[in-house]
Subunit: 108 residues, 2 copies
DNA sequence: TTGATATACCTAGAAATTCTATGTATACTA
DNA sequence: TAGTATACATAGAATTTCTAGGTATATCAA
């Protein structure tokens, strides 16, 4: 089975949380929406990464009751998380730029 | 240890070979040069992927003596390889576009 | 001439990332 | 009341890339 090419999971999650606090399931939906269905992150991918971000103090969790009555676990970006996002964004741009440079260079 | 973020190895190698035939070691140097040292592919990454491309008939190998007297193993892109490159390029653009869309969407 | 470095190929096993599959439980709706 | 969507979670498999090691030749400086 082929890997479905979502490798910058951490960057994507941090980026989502930079616009507003979200709960896990919501992030999957938002990611799909914002990417026009290119990303369909699986829960098996999301939750371990999210817990890792929490352990590294890049995000903080808190519980909040939804209008439906269910309790959801929201995540909030910390200052450290915001710094990490800035770095990862730069790293992504570096990486994407390099790939594009290789793709464009048809001749030496 | 952290993965060094070269995940589109196959795409990069096919792209290199679309400009001219190359031998393995040369690809590492070219990739580094064209990406301005962003990519420093390891031989442990290159050779298995290259052999995989050969098994899938995306590239063909032939030996050729270098001016130094050493025999090098050159790789040539096949028609199937060229088609694969086209697909992978499109896939990369889709992926990069989606990441950028998520990164740009600071608000809903 | 000898030791270091660059060239040139290769593989085994470890590490990291993401997926599949599964489990639990609640809310909504047909 | 049965199915689907919501919402959380983990174990184990699959995939990709890395680290580390091996072999061998060519070049260049000490």
């Amino acid at each position: 089975m082929k890997k479905q090419s979502i490798e910058h999971t951490q960057l994507l999650l941090l980026s989502l949380l930079s616009s507003r606090d979200m709960y896990g399931y919501e992030m999957i939906l938002e990611l799909s929406r914002r990417s026009q269905n290119v990303f369909e992150m699986k829960e098996g991918t999301l939750y371990p990464v999210l817990h890792g971000l929490e352990k590294q103090r890049y995000v903080e969790a808190y519980e909040q009751e939804a209008p439906t009555g269910r309790v959801r676990k929201y995540y909030r970006l910390t200052r450290a998380g915001r710094n990490c996002l800035t770095e990862e964004k730069a790293s992504w741009e570096r990486y994407a730029g390099a790939v594009n440079a290789v793709l464009r260079a048809e001749a030496t």
